[in-house]
Symmetry: C5
Subunit: 319 residues, 5 copies
C-alpha cells in the first residue's frame, strides 16, 4: 500500500488540498513549506515514521504510542502537543484511533479518512479557515469526535429503553444476554469517555502556549460536552444495574407463580385422590359403598372439598 497523504493549507480566504503519496512529498519539498498547514495520513509505517521524525522532529515515543496504545492521552513536547483520541464511529464495536501532532504552525492527523473528510468539509465552511492558525482545526476535529460519542450514547440509551420495556414482559436467557452485552458496552463507553475527559482536562491546563487565550472557552465547552456524555454513561450504567436486579427479582416471581400453580393443583387433587383410593381398598364394610346413593355422597364430598380449598387459596391471595 502506498502511503497517501493529504496536505490542506490556506488559499486566500479558502482552503486548498493536495492528495499525493509520501514519496512525492519527499521529492517535492515545496509542499511542506506552506504554513500553516494540516497534514493527514491514514496510518503509520516505517516510511511515515521516518517522514515525521525528519520533517517535524516528532519523538519516537509519540510514534510508538500512535502505533500501539488504546487509551486517550495527551503529552506536551517541546515543539508540539501529542494527542491520542479513542472514539467510536457508529457503535461500540467500531472503535477508532486518531493521533494528532499539534505544533505552532502545523497539525498532523493520523486516522480514519472519514473523520478527515468531515473535518475538512466543516473547515471549508468557515469564513476565514486558517485565521487562527491550526488551533481551529484541532477544535473542529474534537467537535466531530464529541458528536460521534453523542451518537453512540444516543444509541445505547435507546437500547436501554427497549430493554427496560422488555424486562417486564419477558424473562429469558436471550434478554439476559442482551442486558449483559449492553452493560458491557456501557462500561466501555464510560471508561473511554472518562479517559477522553481527563485528556481534555490536562490539555486545557497545559497548552496555554498553543491556544489563543480568548479561545479557551471553546475548549472548556468541549470538556463540558464530554462531561455531560460521561454523566449520561454513568446514569446508563446505574440504569442497567437496576434493570438487572429487577430482572432477577422477576425470575424469582415467576418461580413463585409456577410453584403456586403446582401447589394449588396438588392441594386440590390429592384429597380427592385419597378418597378415591380409600374406596378402592379391597376391604369389607366401606361406608356407603353398597348404597345406591354412595356415588353421589362421595362425589359431593369431593366437589365440596375442592370448593373449600379454592376458597381457602383465594383468601390467602394465591389465586
Amino acid at each position: 500500500m502506498e502511503n497517501l497523504i493529504w496536505i490542506v493549507s490556506p488559499e486566500g480566504d479558502s482552503i486548498t488540498t493536495w492528495k499525493t503519496d509520501i514519496r512525492s512529498v519527499l521529492e517535492n519539498e515545496e509542499l511542506l513549506k506552506k504554513s500553516p498547514k494540516w497534514i493527514h495520513l491514514r496510518g503509520i509505517d516505517e516510511q511515515v515514521e521516518n517522514f515525521l521524525l525528519k520533517n517535524f522532529k516528532i519523538n519516537e515515543l509519540s510514534l510508538e504510542d500512535c502505533r500501539s496504545e488504546g487509551r486517550s492521552k495527551v503529552e506536551v513536547f517541546e515543539d508540539y502537543v501529542f494527542v491520542l483520541m479513542i472514539y467510536f464511529d457508529g457503535g461500540i464495536s467500531r472503535q477508532k484511533k486518531l493521533c494528532i501532532f499539534w505544533g505552532k504552525d502545523f497539525i498532523i492527523t493520523i486516522g480514519s479518512r472519514r473523520l478527515f473528510e468531515e473535518t475538512r468539509k466543516n473547515l471549508s465552511l468557515e469564513e476565514r479557515p486558517f485565521e487562527q492558525g491550526v488551533e481551529r482545526i484541532f477544535w473542529l476535529i474534537s467537535s466531530i469526535v464529541a458528536d460521534k460519542f453523542k451518537g453512540v450514547t444516543d444509541i445505547l440509551e435507546e437500547q436501554a429503553d427497549e430493554i427496560e420495556a422488555r424486562v417486564f414482559k419477558e424473562q429469558n436467557p436471550e434478554l439476559l444476554e442482551d442486558i449483559s452485552d449492553l452493560s458491557f458496552e456501557i462500561l466501555t463507553l464510560r471508561r473511554t469517555l472518562k479517559q477522553l475527559r481527563d485528556t481534555y482536562k490536562s490539555l486545557i491546563s497545559s497548552v496555554s502556549r498553543f491556544i489563543n487565550p480568548e479561545n479557551i472557552h471553546y475548549f472548556r465547552d468541549l470538556l463540558d460536552e464530554i462531561s455531560i456524555l460521561y454523566d449520561r454513561a454513568e446514569t446508563l450504567h446505574e440504569f442497567t444495574q437496576n434493570v438487572l436486579s429487577v430482572f432477577s427479582s422477576l425470575v424469582s416471581f415467576k418461580l413463585n407463580d409456577i410453584m403456586k400453580t403446582l401447589t394449588i393443583l396438588i392441594t386440590i387433587l390429592e384429597p380427592l385422590m385419597l378418597i378415591s383410593s380409600f374406596y378402592g381398598m379391597n376391604i369389607e364394610e366401606l361406608p356407603f359403598a353398597h348404597s345406591p346413593y354412595g356415588i353421589f355422597v362421595i362425589s359431593f364430598l369431593m366437589i365440596g372439598i375442592s370448593f373449600f380449598l379454592l376458597y381457602y387459596f383465594r383468601r390467602k391471595g394465591w389465586i
Copy 2:
C-alpha cells in the same frame, strides 16, 4: 410564533415591566437604554440570537449551550456570567431549562414564563428592588429553583415512604415496577442536584467580580440548601436500594411458605395414600381385610399417622 420579551426595570422604589416583542424592541431602542434591567425571553431562535449577539455581545458558545445542553453549568465570560440551570417543575418528568446571562447592569433569562412571573412577584415585594443592581434578581431566581427542587424531593420522599409501607404487605411485579421507577427518578434527581451544586460552587469561587462581597453569605446559603437536598437524595437512594433487597428477600420467603404448604400436604397425605393403595391390591391375605373391624383399624391408623406428622411439623416450627 412571535418572540415575546419582558423588560423589567426600576421605577422609583418599585419596578415596571414592558411586555412586547423583539421586533418592537429593535425599532424602539429606548427600551434597552434603561439600566439596570432584567430581560426575560421564553425561548431561543435565530432572531433572539441575533438580538443577544448584537446588543449584549453574548458569545455564540453560550447561545449554543442554551439551545442544546442538558446539564447545569456556569461559564465566566469577559462581560457576563453564563449560568445554565436544569430544574424540575413539580415532578421529575417535568424537567425545565433556564439560561441566565448575568452582566454588570443587566440580567437576561431565557426559560419558562411561570418561573419568570414567580420571581417578578417576589422582586416586587422587595423594599428597594434594584438597590443592589441585578444580583438580587439572580438570587431570587435561584431561591425559587431551590424551592422547586425541595418540592420534588418532598414528593419522592413521600413516595418512598408509601413504597416502604407496601413492601411488607404485597410482593408483586407492580410494586417492583414502582420501586424501579422511583429508584430511577431518585438517580435523576441526585445527578441533577449534584450538577447544580457543582455549578453554585464554581459560581461562588469565580464571580467575586459580580457579587457584592457582603452578600456572599446569600449565595453560600443557597449552596447549603442544594447540598442538603443532595444529601436527602443520596439517603433516598440508599433507602430504595435497601427496600429492593428487602423486597427480594420477602419474595424468597414467600416461596419458602409455598413450598412448606406443599411439603406438609404431601407429607401428610402420601402415607395415607400408600395405605389405601396397599389395601387396594388384588392379593390374598391382606391383614384385617376381611375382618369387620378392618375399616376402623385402618382409619385409626391413618388418623394416627396424620396427627403424628402434624405434631412433627409443629415441633420443627413449620406450622
Copy 3:
C-alpha cells in the same frame, strides 16, 4: 407561648442565671449589659428574631437556617460564628436541632432545655467558669452533643449484636423488618455524624479568631471523638449489610431443607405406591397374587426398597 429566656453570666468565681421572658429583657436593658454572657432560648419566633436582629446583629440568613434547616453547618460572619448542630437525644427517632451564635463576648443557644441544663450544670462545676470567655461554653455544649451521639451509637451497636444473635436462629419477615429498620437508622446516624464532622473540621480551620490558640487541642479532640463515632457507624453499616446477605443465604438454605424433606419423602413412597398400584390392576396372572406368601414377598420388597433409598440418601449426605 411566652418566650422564656435564660441569661447566664459570671458572678465572682461562680455563675448566676436569670430566667425571665424576652419582653422583660427588652424593658430592663440592664440584663444585656453583662459581659461575657450566655443566653439560651427554647425556640425561634418573630419576637425572638427581632430581639436577636436588634441586640446582636444576627444576620437574617442565620435565623432562617435556624428555623428551617436540617443539616449541621457552620458559617462565619463578621461579628459571630453561626453553628447549627443536629443531634439525637436518646434514639434516632428523637432528632434535635441546636443553633449557636458565638460572638466575642456572648454565646446564644436556641434549642432543647435539657441540653441547656446539662451544660449549665457542667459549667457550674468548673473552677473559674467564664475565665476564657464563652469559648469554654461552646466546648461544653459540643462535648455533651458528642456524648449523646456516643449513647445512640452504643444503642445501635447493641441492637446490631442482638440481631446477629437472632439471624442464625430465626428467619422471618419480622427479623427482616428489624434489620431493615436498623440499617436505615445506621444510615441516618452515619450521615448526621459525617455532617457534624465536616462542621467541626471547617470550624477548626476558620475560627482562629474566636478560639484561644492554646485551646485548639480541645476542639481537635472533639473532632477526633466524632470521627471515632463515624468510624463505628461505618462499621455498623458494613456489619448490617453482612447480616442481610447472611440472612438471605440462610433463607435459601431453609428452602433447600424443605425441598430435601419433600424429595426424600416422595422418593421413598412413590416406588411403594407403584408396587401397590401394580398389584391393584384388574388383570390376570399378577405374579404371586394368589400365593398365600404373596403379601410377605411384596411387603419385604417394599421395606427393602425403602431401606435401600434411605441408605442412598444418607450416602449422598442429605439425611
Copy 4:
C-alpha cells in the same frame, strides 16, 4: 492494686531497669532525674494521672484519650507527642491499647507488660541503646506492633484459605457463620490498620522536631509495612466477598440438584402409576386385561416408557 512502674535508662553501653511502684518514685525523686529515660506503666488511674501531670506536664486531654479512646491517633503538644496505638495481640479478639508520650528526652508507655518486655529485650540487643535518645525506642515499639499486625493478618489469610477449600465441599450454616465471622474480623483488621496508617502518616509529616532527619527512612519503612498489611486486608475483604457470592451460587446449585432428582423420579414413576391406575379401574373391556399375556404387555410398556424417559433426561443433560 499498686501501680508498678518500670524505668529504663542507659548504663554505659547497656541499659538498666528499675521496677518499683509510683509511691516509691515520688519519694525518691532521684529516679526521675535520669535522662534519657523510658518509663512504662501498666494502666492509668488517678495516681498515675497526677504523677504524669506533675512530672511531665502531660495534658489532661491526652490522659482522657488514653483512658477511653479506641482509635489510633497522634496529637502534637508543645512538650511531647501523644501517640495512641490500637493493635491485636494474637487474634482480632485480643485488642490492646498502647499510649505513648514521646518527649525530647523521655518516652512514657502505658500498656501491656508483654509488649514492654519484648521491646526492652530488643533494646538490650542494640549496640548503643540510647545513642539516639528515645527515638529508637519508639521505633522498636512500633516495629513490634507492626509484627503483631503481620501475625494477625497471616492468621486471617490462613483462615480464608481454609474457608475457600471448604466452600466447594460443604454448604451449610456452620460454614456460613464462619465466613460471616471471618468477614467481620477482616473488616475490623482493615479499619484498625487504616487508622494506624493514617496515624503514622501524620506522625511523619509533623514530628520533624523529634526525629533525627537521617532516621526518617526508618519511619517511612514502618508506614510502608502497615500499608502492605492494609493492602492484604483489603484483598482479604474482596476475597471473602467473592467466597460469599460463590457460596450463595452453590446453594442455588444444590437446590437445582435436589429439584432435578425429584423431577426425574416423578417423571419416570408417574406414567407407570397412571398405567397401573388405568388397569385398576373397575370397568369392562380393559384392553389385554383378560389375556394371559396382558401382564407382559403392560410390564414391557412400563419398562419401555422408563427407558425412554431416562434417555430423554440424559440427552437434556440432567443425568
Copy 5:
C-alpha cells in the same frame, strides 16, 4: 550455593559482561572500579548484604525490604534510589520480585536471571548502550516488566472471553470455580498494577536528580503503559462481576425450567390419575362402568383433558 555476580560495563560502543562470584570480586577490586556499571545478583544473603553495605553504602532498610517485602515501592536515599518491583512472569501464579539500587554511576539489580538476560540483550542492541549512564538500563528493565504485565493481562482477558462464552452454555460448579479463580487473579493483577503505578508516579516526581530532564518523557510513557493496563484490569474486574451475576441469574432460570417441567407433568397426569382412581373405587353405580363403551368414553375424557392442559400451558407461554 555460591553467589554468582554479573558485572556489565561499557566497552567502546558495545558492552562487556563478567560473570563470577562475589568472593572473587572482593579479592579483585579492579572489577568494581569500572564506571558506569550494572551489577546483577540472583538473590540476597549475608555475604551479598555485606558486599552491598561496604561497597555501595546501601541502607540496611533497603536490604531488609528486598529480602521480605511484597509490594512495589520506591524510596529515595542520599546516594541512590531503591526501587522494588513486583511482577508476573507468564502467569499470576509466577510472581517475581526485583530490587533495584539505582545510583549516579551504578545500577544494581537483584532478581531473576531471565529478566537480566532479556534486558542485557536489549541493551546490547542499543547503539551507544551506556551513553546516558545507567538511566537507560533502568528504563529497559521497566519496559520488559511492563511487557510481562501486558502478557499476563492478555492471558486473563482471553480467559475472561472463554468464560463468557461458556457461561450461557453450561452452568455448573466447575465453571463457578473457574470464574472465582479468574476473579481472584484479576484482583491480584489490579492490586499489583496499582502499586506499580503509584511507584512510577512517585519515582517521576522525586528522581529529577537521577533522570536527564529531556528523558522524562520515557518515564511518563512507562507510567501511561501501566495506567492502561490498570484500566484493562479494572474493566476485567467489572466484566467478571457481570459474568458472575449473569451466571447466578441463569442458575435461577434453569430452576424455573426444571420446576416448569415438573409442574406441567404433574398437572397433566394428576387429573388422569384422579379419573382412574375414581373408577377404581369398589362402589356401586359408577357411571359408564358397566357399559361396553365406558372404556372409550373415559379414554377420550382423559385425552381431552390432556390436550386442553397442553393448550393452556402453551398459551401461558410455558411450553
